[in-house]
Amino acid sequence: MSEKTVTVPNISCGHCVKTIEREVGGLPGVGAVQAEETSRRVTISWDPERTDWVAIEDHMGDIRYPPAD
């Protein structure tokens, strides 16, 4: 499993956290997703054989929570 922690500046409330966890967590190959409201940090683990970071990042953009560079 690979893991990455990114900052998502768009997080502004508890709903955002839930949305990210649900949406990203629902992608094929993605394991645990942990988002935090105050620090705006999201930790995502995924199975590199089934998906890759680019796909995850793309999806985060689609749901309007793109990670900061």
């Binding site: 768009n10 997080i11 502004s12 409330c13 709903h15 955002c16 839930k18 949305t19 749901i63 309007r64």
Partner: protein, 767 residues
């Protein structure tokens, strides 16, 4: 064909939420398009199909939105579903209680008659046949578990919190009576009378039914909290005229966005908060400030949604829409305040909290004494225990509060005092602080002429240059001004007309008349050109007003408004107008202070004006320059000091404070919103009814206390009998040595009659 519907969505806290909900809705099967407005908290969904399709779609939408962590409120039918959920819930509660009571009465009534007839030997021997117990069981069982279900639920909740309330007493007492009766009935069928030979089904059923009646009376008396909100919402116009690309479009209010340019015609309500771009008019902002005098608005001035534009057309730019407007703010404050009000624990519950544990201890003691000390055996000891519990449960308990409250509110209504909740009636006697709004409450809320100044050398008399006396010159000035103002609807004009009428003046018809929006009027009266209005209006008409400025300053310093009058191009005089005190204010304040209440005046007005009014009515404590949304906070501040606070007000702007106060009292002469937000309405708008309302509360409370005494007294007296205290006294009648069921029946009847009779006495009490 594509259709659209509007669905309220709850729980959105930020702009991202809007995107999330939109995406969620768009993904739902059958949705063609979905857009969400954050400000109005509504989603607009387009779809294709009939009502049946819509209902199914709503199911899916509701599911999806909830999954995403938000809420969706289903619109009812075609209505856009502003959600009268609260009113619906209340109606359902009343219907539920009524149904339960009717079922209880239909079954308990015959049961009671049958049982009484049997106990007192009024019917034949057939009544003692075993099947009669079966019939009683059949009548009592639905009452016990259908009608009485709420008590089990309530008792369970109370016990879980470690408290004993009325529900516990009712559930316990009735269950013991019922359960014991079942045991006796079955034992008798099996030929054993070891458990006793008398059933108490009617006791259980009657207790539950009578207390249910009390509950029904109570929920019916409860005020409808959501009405205040509805009244507020109704202040908003439904549509607005938006200028887009130079064209005027009439759009629904929720489609207005910040930055839109809007047109407001004379007589219309301002749709949203904004800033005047063009035009000039007077706007009635009494909704916000309570002040009846319209405020002059021109380019750059702020206007507030739902205030009433009076005489000129305005072009404005929307700055705040939807939930950000001042009106929405008031709505929110009222909602919060209504939700924050802690329910006071009913007196009956407080009594029960002491009574229940005592009864339990006595019952347990009785059982242990008979079983272990006296050695009477387990079963006889158990029968004693049951007797204590059954006799302790007072039927009349449920009637004690509601009957007194009913008679109290009825008497209040005769006096013009409408109590909307029994809590308010119970609470009004224990007030510490009473907060009075100034405008419209202590004062009349409309301007009246206080002083008329005739300019030196002014030509007012019919005899120019003549030496008419000062009173005549004043009358002549009033006559000319009144004539010029005859056609005007402005509150200041009406005040001048009222003054002229008071002095019995005959006003001539003006020959021509022109109202200048926000400034005054121009008219020709008996051939003379009369200008009445602001200093600016006079200047605009070429009149030099500077000679009177020193007087104006003096007149305005007392919080008065000055109206200028010019005739034939020269200043003729000044009218000083102010919000006049109500005659009864001082008397009412004195009477409240006599009761030991801390009387406080609350107003948005400046300190000087407020102080002037306060000293005239005898109030020492003044909170001036309080913004409308701070009124509720001021009330809360007193509450945080531990005081029980009443608020008396009349305006829409008083709504949140009225809802926040422990007892909100609205004057019947004021805004509907105020009355809906308040607990008490004083119909005549007379402040002197406030002390009477407090006395009524006191008397009602006293009656409730007496009722509770009577409800418990007969039963409590019989508890020692039930416990077997008289058993050793061999000379005592058998009926007292072992509690006879007739005694329980008599206690029940006497306490109910005493309670109802005592409540009715309240009617004749002097206030």
């Amino acid at each position: 064909m594509s259709r659209e519907m509007d669905v309220p969505v709850t729980g959105m806290t930020c702009a991202n939420c809007v995107a999330t909900v939109e995406r969620t809705l768009q993904r739902v099967d059958g949705v063609q398009e979905a857009s969400v407005n954050f400000a109005t908290e509504r989603a607009r969904v387009s779809f294709d199909g009939d009502d049946h399709v819509r209902d199914e779609l709503l199911d899916r939408l509701e599911h999806a939105v909830e999954e995403a962590g938000y809420g969706l409120i289903r619109p009812r039918g075609e209505d856009d579903g502003d959600g009268d959920a609260e009113a619906d819930a209340r109606a359902a509660e009343i219907a539920h209680q009524r149904r339960a009571f009717l079922v209880g009465a239909a079954l308990a009534g015959p049961l009671f008659l049958l049982s009484m007839a049997r106990d007192f030997g009024l019917v034949g021997a057939w009544a003692h046949a075993p099947w009669v117990n079966g019939l009683m069981f059949a009548l009592a069982t639905p009452v016990q578990f259908y009608v009485g279900w709420d008590y089990y639920v309530g008792a369970w909740k109370a016990l879980r919190n470690g408290a004993a309330n009325m529900d516990v007493l009712v559930a316990l007492g009735s269950s013991v009576a019922y359960g014991y009766s079942v045991v006796v009935m079955v034992a008798l069928w099996m030929g054993s009378s070891a458990a006793g030979d008398h059933v108490y089904f009617e006791t259980a059923a009657l207790i539950i039914t009578l207390i249910k009646l009390g509950k029904l009376l109570e929920v019916r008396a409860k005020g409808d909290a959501s009405r205040a909100i509805r009244e507020l919402m109704d202040l908003r116009p439904e549509t607005a005229r938006v200028v887009r690309d130079g064209e005027i479009h009439e759009v629904e209010l929720r489609e207005v966005e910040a930055g839109d340019e809007l047109l407001v015609r004379p007589g219309e309500r301002v749709p949203v908060d904004g800033e005047v771009v063009e035009g000039r008019s007077a706007v009635d902002e009494s909704m916000l400030t309570g002040e009846s005098l319209p405020v002059e608005k021109g380019p750059g001035d702020e206007v507030v949604g739902a205030t009433l534009n009076q005489d000129g057309a305005l072009r404005m730019r929307a700055t705040r829409v939807g939930r950000d407007t001042a009106l929405s703010n008031i709505v929110r404050l009222v909602q919060e305040a209504q939700g924050s009000k802690a329910p006071i624990q009913a007196l009956a519950d407080r009594v029960a909290a002491v009574f229940v544990p005592v009864v339990l201890v006595v019952a347990a003691g009785t059982f242990l004494t008979w079983w272990l000390v006296v050695g009477a055996g387990f079963t006889p000891a158990l029968i004693r225990l049951v007797a204590v519990l059954v006799i302790a449960c007072p039927c009349a308990l449920g009637l004690a509060t509601p009957t007194a409250v009913m008679v109290g509110t009825g008497k209040g209504a005769e006096l013009g005092i409408l109590f909307r909740s029994s809590e308010a009636l119970e609470r009004a006697h224990e007030l510490d602080v009473i907060v009075l709004d100034k405008t419209g409450t202590l004062t009349r809320g409309e301007p009246a002429v206080e002083e008329i100044v005739v300019a030196e050398g002014a030509v007012v008399g019919t005899d120019p240059g003549g030496d008419a006396g000062a009173p005549d010159r004043t009358r002549e000035l009033l006559r000319l001004t009144g004539a010029a103002e005859r056609r005007s609807e402005h509150p200041l004009a009406r005040a001048v007309l009222a003054e002229a009428e008071d002095r019995g003046l005959d006003l001539p018809e003006p020959e021509d008349f022109q109202a200048v929006p926000g400034r005054g009027v121009l008219a020709t009266v008996e051939g003379r050109k009369v200008v009445v209005g602001s200093r600016r209006l006079l200047e605009g008409e070429g009149v030099d007003p500077s000679g009177m400025d020193h007087r104006v300053e003096e007149l305005e310093s007392g919080g008065r408004t000055v109206l200028w009058v010019a005739t034939d191009g020269r200043v003729a005089g000044l009218f000083a107008l102010a919000d006049a005190l109500k005659e009864e204010s001082a008397e009412a304040v004195a009477s409240l202070r006599e009761r030991g209440l801390r009387v406080v005046m609350l107003t948005g007005d400046n300190q000087a004006t407020a102080q002037a009014v306060a000293s005239r009515v005898g109030i020492e404590e003044v909170r001036a320059e309080v913004l409308p949304d701070q009124k509720a906070e001021a009330v809360q501040a007193f509450q945080e000091e531990g005081a029980v606070v009443a608020m008396v007000g009349d305006g829409i702007n008083d709504g949140p404070a009225l809802a926040r106060a422990d007892v909100g009292m609205a004057l019947g002469t004021g805004a509907d919103v105020a009355m809906e937000a308040a607990d008490v309405t004083l119909m005549q708008g007379d402040l002197r009814t406030v002390p009477r309302a407090l006395r009524l509360s006191e008397e009602t409370l006293r009656t409730i206390r007496q009722n509770l005494f009577w409800a418990f007294a007969y039963n409590a007296v019989l508890i020692p009998v039930a416990a077997g205290a008289l058993y050793p006294v061999e000379s005592a009648p058998e009926m007292l040595r072992s509690l006879h069921p007739i005694l329980a029946a008599l206690a029940m009847a006497f306490s109910s009659v005493s309670v109802v009779g005592n409540s009715l006495r309240l009617r004749r009490r002097e206030l």
